[in-house]
Symmetry: C2
Subunit: 211 residues, 2 copies
Amino acid sequence: MQFSKKDIDAMPSRYRAHFVNSLSGYKSANLVGTTDTQGRHNLAIVSSVVHLGAHPPLIAMIMRPDVVERHTLANIRETGWFTLNQVNHRFWQAAHQTSAKYDRCESEFNAVGLEPEFIGECPAPFVKESLAKYAVKLVREQVIEENGTILLVGAIEHGVVCDEALCSDGHIDLNAIETVAVTGLDGYHLGSRLGRLSYAQPNTWPTKLDE
Amino acid sequence: MQFSKKDIDAMPSRYRAHFVNSLSGYKSANLVGTTDTQGRHNLAIVSSVVHLGAHPPLIAMIMRPDVVERHTLANIRETGWFTLNQVNHRFWQAAHQTSAKYDRCESEFNAVGLEPEFIGECPAPFVKESLAKYAVKLVREQVIEENGTILLVGAIEHGVVCDEALCSDGHIDLNAIETVAVTGLDGYHLGSRLGRLSYAQPNTWPTKLDE
């Protein structure tokens, strides 16, 4: 199916949302844990976390200023902290459920049956069930003027990665901890490993790294 | 394994790159097709494309100003266009190979055995073998001051999606076209479908949408 810009603009709103959200490819699935200064916890699933750099260790996260994410955003602005918790196979439906419009006073942890835990100086709750998670300090936020979304730049602080997933060269095996990926607005997937490839050099075909 | 900020800073450079790149979760795998005004093509794999919005249809892409991506960036700045082509199972090693430091005059298409094609007014080449691909017009670029990476905001223009992947509600089934996902710096995966979940509402557990 070929499509033009006009075709996209003419799509019914929901159809367009499904379609365009699918175009970028597979997305990460993380739960953002936050708290306000009164200790009210919030948990929301996001598929917009992207790696920015390793040194310093930074991530970016795109947020929409709508109801669900407004709680998350407000909390991040209040405390300057949030946690990112990779979603895995054991709680992917509960993670999706956090996207429901819960009341500000209702903790999604309770509503979806996940357990908060606290690590180090970060006031925001981690998800106990997650096997790869870390605290993030807000560095900067800015509005993406083209559509009013908000780009958050965050510094990775401390965290936890399940030992069985950690490879000898630092790579984290997301298959080993059954981390989940997202497609479109509502598709969830495990990964099926093809392999790791050697550092690419001109004139030499890549080889699979030993697992 | 618990880790602190100090632990990350103390990691050997390559180890830290593998580790931190793995933290955000699964990433998209796309080939960016570009051309300069002399018609020299360039192809590069990126795992940093992220959905920004559906209306208007926008994506963001994070680029590092290093050798490989400098060709891509220079071309995008010259022509204002690029293509994004989802990587699939049939050419994932060739896609990885595009990350090798080829000379400016050497087309990665030739070097890795992929075929350029042209669709509509976009001067940049598409990848014929890709089953979900689209042209993007550069809207804006900005430097992420925290580490010098470059954020590109792009408007989705025209493209092609394989019919068999298009669901009746607009969702694109990336499993059907064997689109690939990336983990860390060098891990490649197919998706293994768990399911699509219904729009989340408070007090109702999500149900699987019919496939």
